[in-house]
């Protein structure tokens, strides 16, 4: 599973690496896998980032089913006016 993260997270936690690999059929499994590799990234992504899964942007992401998803991409949360 490919996981894409924003530059401000990449520079803080993955030594600039934007494209990561993690395993899991549920989103929270993938996040735990990432956190094992890059400690602290789970909390960082939990603050102000939404998760783009194929054609949806998920705020308040948790344990979404991602077994049929090709990639997971974290993006800034969408605010509105």
């Amino acid at each position: 599973m490919k996981v894409f993260i924003p530059s401000q997270i990449a520079n803080g936690y993955t030594n600039g690496l934007h494209e990561l690999n993690a395993e899991g059929e549920k989103l929270d499994q993938v996040i735990r896998s990432l956190d094992d590799q890059y400690p602290g990234i789970k909390n960082a992504l939990s603050e102000g980032f939404a998760c783009a899964l194929e054609n949806e942007i998920i705020h308040d992401w948790f344990d979404e089913d991602i077994k049929d998803v090709k990639s997971v991409r974290f993006i800034p949360a969408i605010e509105g006016g």
Binding site: N11, A52, N55, G80
Partner: protein
């Protein structure tokens, strides 16, 4: 199936489409439930609240844009007869820089509502007074003496970026750099979005447009100033009456700043006289609560227009550098954009959203969007319809217009060749489901407007726009009253006709007339949590909650009918507003009035509810605007001759309000493009603090804004709804700038396009 409305609606003897026949209430244009109160002046807005024993508040504000506060002397003010209390930042809860969540930095918010040890913009609040009359409160605020150490203000991005420039906030270290920042900076954050390999791919481009653009700080321009009243009681409970875009947001933010548990505060939403994103935060509420706590009496604070302009809103001014490459046939090859947005005095401009939206209407495989969040000594930027998108779209849509000119292609055909469709992956990583950008472009091409001939010094501009649209947390409760009529309660303030759309969706689901449904906006103790009204989410997400609540009540009504008829509930169905026993023709269907009559016999009052977080299905919105202008070569004045706003709205629940959203967005965007800007003195004082000097367009400035509603139903909503409120402000800046550029034969890149700039271009 998609359909195009509004222009069609004007045709005589027009037959309703099959799509329209599906619905009885959806798509009609009933009178709005809150209309009579609003047009007769009976609706209660924030400033209308009057409470027994109420005191009046006033605020002492900074006259400097950047200064250390050495001393605040309130002694003279306190001696004034009738003054009851004065508060400063130290009266708020003690917060740390780490006190933040994904939505808000409370440390910054507290320092914004009352300056801590430094004033950061002209008009920054320093102290708040409560007194027995407004006149005394104002005089007391004037008598407060502040000793400053004046610092050099940082008024624009260029100054903020300079080396050795004054640092506005020493807590800010640039985030998002490859190497962690070691020194404080006025650059709060760098963001970057990358798709493919744009740098390399640019080598294949045969035609490149490379240009810089700029815009100024603008205000949302809501007519109703911020206002609230608060009453704090001896049992440490507070009640707030205020106009805002979210009563639960007001409750949570005020609780944090006042050091109270959230549930100790009740927020009663007043009517709202415009918000446009500017009322998604708080300014006055914690001050009124604290003053009420100190005095033991209710306190009301109402801003005047000058305060609104100096210390609330605005949205970011910014710069954009766009590079767009294409082949000779007009196929886009790659796009780059670098955006720099003013955040105001606290981090948090919408530059990330600008990056994400910039190229979203187009099918580009190679894109890089870089954004910089820049602190300046101006008010903290607040949300404004489609935050971040209009400035980015202005730049990209101008570049596309220039590219079309170089290619000698029609600008709509160029966009059609490259437009995002179902299956396109946007630069921010989402692959679009069913969207209607192409349909909007085709509707524009086929419109009467686009075929109209122009004269010398007249120009036509078009521009596309995109907004994500979102879902989120929404709650709805629906109840059948003793007379069989229905009340629908939601937790979302009605800023754009949502009472009507909620009532219509409830009526459609229940199979009854809209006149039999009364929609209300509930307070924070009468309905479960709801996210604020913003992001074009309410008709979509709260609408879903209303539909689910209605379905919940239908289930209960069927059970009650079954109980009354002594049949198995599985034999009862709901059809056309009635319970029907499907296996017994001898039983007459039961209407809601009849069910209301048997409610007490069969178990008590009947209601339905839904508390949901709509995580999926908010279909993105796309629009295209066409603008015709005439430029007076002697004065440089721009007259908007004709304007058409086209948008994929999914399904228009109440077409008049959807058209109103499009017209309002267009009007605000035209003002942004032609007139509006914050004008500061060299010392950083705002010079145009009223609507005489800060020129928002009025009816006499504009032609009738024509609308074409394109309906590509959103598969993520039972009725096909897409959010519509944000998208219409995205295209106007580009559409107007392209129109003016085409009228005078010069590329206009610096908004607003006032007569001085135009005259300097045409000589």
């Amino acid at each position: 199936m998609s359909s195009v409305r509004t222009e069609e609606l004007t045709r005589p003897n027009r037959k309703a489409t099959e799509e329209e026949n599906k619905f009885k209430v959806i798509g009609t244009r009933p009178v709005r439930p809150d209309g009579i109160d609003k047009v007769t002046g009976k609706a209660n807005f924030g400033a209308d609240i009057v409470l027994n024993g109420m005191l009046y508040g006033a605020i002492h504000r900074s006259k400097h844009a950047h200064a250390l506060i050495k001393k605040v002397d309130v002694s003279k003010a306190l001696k004034l007869e009738g003054v009851k209390s004065i508060i400063t930042h130290s009266d708020l809860a003690t917060l740390k820089p780490t006190d933040k969540n994904s939505n808000v930095n409370f440390f910054d918010l507290a320092r914004n509502v009352l300056a801590k040890d430094k004033v950061l913009y002209d008009g920054h609040a320093i102290a708040a007074v409560a007194a027995i009359s407004q006149t005394i409160a104002n005089e007391a605020a004037r008598l407060i003496e502040v000793e400053y150490k004046i610092l050099k203000p940082v008024m624009n991005i260029k100054t903020a970026e300079k080396k050795n420039t004054p640092i506005i906030d020493k807590n800010i270290f640039t985030e998002g750099l490859k190497e962690p920042a070691k020194k404080p900076s006025n650059i709060a954050k760098k963001v970057e979005f990358l798709l493919g390999d744009p740098d390399k791919t640019f080598e294949q481009a045969e035609i490149v447009v490379d240009r810089k653009y700029s815009t100024q700080t603008v205000h949302q321009g809501y007519i109703e100033p911020h206002a609230c009243a608060a009453s704090y009681t001896k049992d440490n409970q507070a009640t707030i009456w205020c106009s805002s875009q979210g009563a639960f947001m007001v409750r949570a933010y005020t609780a944090k700043l006042c050091g109270l548990e959230t549930s100790k505060i009740k927020v009663i939403p007043a009517e709202i006289g415009g918000g446009f994103g500017g009322k998604t935060t708080i300014y006055l509420e914690p001050l009124a609560v604290k003053l009420s706590e100190k005095t033991g009496r209710p306190v009301k604070i109402v801003m005047n227009r000058t305060e609104v302009m100096r210390a609330t809103g605005p949205t970011s001014g910014g710069t954009a550098h766009v590079k767009l490459g294409a082949d000779k046939k007009g196929n886009f090859i790659a796009g780059l954009i670098e955006l720099k947005y003013e955040a105001g005095a606290f981090a948090g401009s919408p530059v990330g959203l600008g990056c994400m939206t910039a190229f979203a209407p187009y099918n580009l495989k190679h894109v890089k969007c870089t954004g910089w969040d820049v602190l300046v000594n101006r008010p903290k930027a607040a949300a404004y319809r489609a935050p971040g998108a209009p400035v980015a779209a202005f730049a990209v849509e101008s570049a596309i217009d220039e590219l079309a000119s170089k290619l000698q292609m029609d600008p709509i055909h160029l966009r059609l060749k490259n437009c995002a469709t179902e299956g396109t992956t946007a630069p921010y990583g989402v692959t679009f489901d069913k969207i209607g950008h192409k349909e909007c472009l085709e509707a524009a091409l086929n419109s009467n407007h686009y075929r109209k001939k122009l004269k010398p010094y007249q120009g036509r501009g078009i521009a596309s726009g995109f907004w994500f649209n979102i879902g989120g947390n929404s709650s709805a409760e629906i109840m059948i009253n003793e007379d069989g009529n229905v009340t629908v309660a939601t937790g979302n303030p009605d800023i754009g006709g949502s009472r009507a759309s909620m009532a219509m969706m409830a009526a459609e689901t229940l199979g009854i007339n809209m006149e039999n449904v009364k929609p209300i906006v509930a307070d924070t103790e009468s309905i479960p949590y709801s996210d604020l009204t913003g992001g074009s989410r309410v008709t979509f997400a709260t609408g879903k909650a209303v539909i689910e609540a209605a379905e919940d009540m239908i289930t209960e009504m069927c059970k009650r009918a079954a109980k009354f008829w002594k049949v198995d509930p599985a034999q009862v169905e709901w059809k056309n507003g009635k319970a029907i026993c499907i296996e017994r023709t001898d039983i007459e269907p039961m209407s809601m009035k009849q069910i209301a009559k048997i409610a007490f016999k069969t178990g008590g009052a009947i209601s339905g509810k839904a508390n949901i977080n709509v995580k999926k299905g908010a279909g993105p919105g796309f629009g295209l605007h066409i603008c015709d202008v005439e430029v007076d070569p002697e004065t440089g004045r721009v007259t908007v001759l004709k304007y058409t706003a086209i948008q994929d709205v999914g399904k228009a629940i109440h077409p008049s309000y959807v058209e109103g959203q499009l017209q309002g967005g267009a009007a605000q965007g035209i003002g942004w493009a032609l007139n509006e800007e914050y004008v500061y003195s060299k010392d950083g004082n705002l010079m145009n603090t009223g609507f005489l000097d800060y020129r928002i367009p009025v009816a006499s400035d504009l032609p009738m804004i024509e609308t074409i509603l394109v309906e590509v139903p959103n598969p993520g909503h039972p009725f096909g709804v897409r959010g519509v409120g944000e998208t219409p402000i995205v295209p106007p800046l580009g559409a107007v700038a392209n129109a003016v550029s085409n009228a005078i034969g010069r590329r206009m890149t610096d908004l607003p396009l006032n007569p001085i700039k135009i005259l300097s271009e045409i000589g």
